[in-house]
């Protein structure tokens, strides 16, 4: 098993948000985690990525047999955990290619692989950029600075393509995207999907799942998974709305 979340209780600022979450993810699988606002979707993403503001109260997260919660965010990343941000951060003064090469080389160093110099990396990046139809113009620009919402999300997927994570958590990657950007991002994710990795799609809306077909759908409400099923569950949810599952979480 790649990831096993067991009875996870976690929160922020002393407030418990996840109240006993269980999740199992294997390589080659795409899981969709859906839920209404405030259900704990973002908390789950942040806890898995290791955000310092979030606090784990109890439960465990095992990744490749290791205790994920013991690892610093950068260690998790080098071990293959990737989170695409809902709101990608702007890093002025640091070019996209510079940033990506550093990240790539850190990962390579960690795994005893070959680091790339700027010229070699540029060729590598050009190939990867095709995944999300990004032009070279974006390589020189500062990370996310002045990017449109869609460009930022594409840039997240580009980072995913470059870093080739084993576990990618896409946190509301579809939010704020117009239909064209959504298509590009989704197609990018589909190209990166393989039997060697797993993807967790965290989303409020079913729309993204029209483009990226999940193997499993989990519905999160009140900090717990309240319903699980195949991709058809997402459609049912779209039709009936979240009120349908809210009852199951014991919240109104």
């Amino acid at each position: 098993m790649l990831l096993e979340v067991k009875d996870l209780h976690a929160g922020i600022d002393g407030k418990e948000i996840l109240k006993g979450l269980n999740l199992e993810v294997n390589k080659g699988e795409v899981h969709a985690i859906m839920g209404p606002n405030g259900s704990g979707k973002s908390t789950l993403s942040k806890v898995l990525a290791g955000h310092p503001s979030y606090e784990v109260i109890s439960g465990s997260v095992t990744y490749e047999g290791k205790d994920l919660l013991e690892l610093e965010p950068d260690e998790r990343a080098r071990d293959g955990v990737f989170m695409a941000f809902q709101y990608p951060v702007e890093v002025p003064g640091v070019s996209n290619s510079q940033f990506l090469r550093l990240a790539y080389n850190e990962k390579m160093k960690h795994h005893g692989g070959e680091e790339l110099d700027p010229l070699e990396f540029n060729d590598y990046l050009k190939e990867k950029a095709k995944v999300v139809e990004m032009s070279e113009e974006f390589f020189k620009r500062s990370v996310n600075e002045g990017f449109s919402g869609g460009e930022k999300k594409r840039n997240e997927i580009l980072q995913m393509a470059v870093l080739e994570p084993k576990l990618a958590i896409l946190d509301e990657t579809d939010s704020g995207l117009d239909i064209d950007a959504l298509r590009i991002v989704a197609e990018g994710v589909n190209k990166l999907r393989s039997s060697d990795n797993a993807i967790i799609l965290v989303t409020h809306y079913q729309r993204l799942l029209n483009y990226i077909q999940p193997d499993f759908v989990h519905v999160l409400a009140g900090g717990k998974i309240v319903k699980e099923g195949g991709k058809e569950l997402a459609l049912e949810l779209e039709e009936k709305g979240y009120d349908w599952v809210k009852g199951a979480a014991g919240t109104h």
Binding site: E72, D74, V89, V94, Q98, E106
Partner: protein, 381 residues
Amino acid sequence: MSSVSTEKETHFSAAFREFVEAEGPSPMHKLRVDAFDAFKQLGFPHPKLEDWKYTNSAAIAKVDWKVIGEGTSTVSQEEADKLSGFNYRRSGFTALNLAFGDVAFVRIPKDESVEEPIEFDFGGEDGVAIFPHIVIVAEPGSKATVIEKYGSTAPGLTNAAVQIFVGENANITHYRVQKDSADAFHISTTEVTIGRDGRYDSTSVNLGGALSRHEIDVRFTAEGGEAWIDGLYMLSGSQHSDTHSVIDHTVPNCTSHQNYKGVLNDKSRGVFNGKVFVRENAHGTDAQQSNKNLLLSNDARVDTKPQLEIFNDDVKCSHGATVGQLEDEELFYLLTRGLPETLARNLLTYGFAEEIISKIGIESIKSELDGMVLNRLNAKI
């Protein structure tokens, strides 16, 4: 006046007598005497003066600096006239600069574009005071790039001044790089006037000096002028760096954009004091001012005071200053991409400084500064 400054006068008085004697008859003679008299009156600036509140020049005042200049006998009357426009009374330092000034005069002829940058390199010696004074006259329609570099390797005193006259439709790009050794003293004054539709674009990078101060005054003398006044101070150890600027919109329809950034580590101290005046008849003014500071240590300190004084309603003005640390969300973002924390912090700091450096249009200077910034961070990026 205290006894200490009287002794200094005596020390500099003897040096001044020798200096003017060596220089011989010069159109500058009277100006030098006047300037030296002003120095005697003003003495070294005292922290009780509002403009010198945060910067104590006592460490400079107590040294018997050796003056080795021989004067400038070739100054023409016209050049002397430009020099007399220098506000040497602003402080004891500017007065000393003009009294002992080693003058370089550059004229960029009308409508001429000078491709090669005009470069000045200065470096002080141990115990020696140098007084460079550069005058740049950009005649109408001319275009040039001026590079002013300071790189002393010993605890000397650099007391420099630059006067720039940007003529009608002229375009001057000015890079000032101060990378004196960390035990040197550096006082520098830049005075700029911008004529009709003239453009002045300056980037000032301050990395060196135990104690450094840069004063820059920019004044518009006719409509349509444009000024970009950017700077970076990056300090560590116990370095102290002070920037004082005055941007004076005395005429309508001029634009000034000022962006200064500070990166302060260890126990270093930064001072930014930026005054922007928009005078009564200066309608259509566009004046933006920003000073952002990044503190990398709890012991570092910065005193920033952006000031905007507007006497006209029909203007577009903004100003602001920030003092802060690296943003947690930015740091987390880089960590989630696998960058170790030290590298992530260095990269963010580099990015902060880079906004200023990246605008430098000369590749050799840009990459040198890039290297120096990285070196400061002990980083390989």
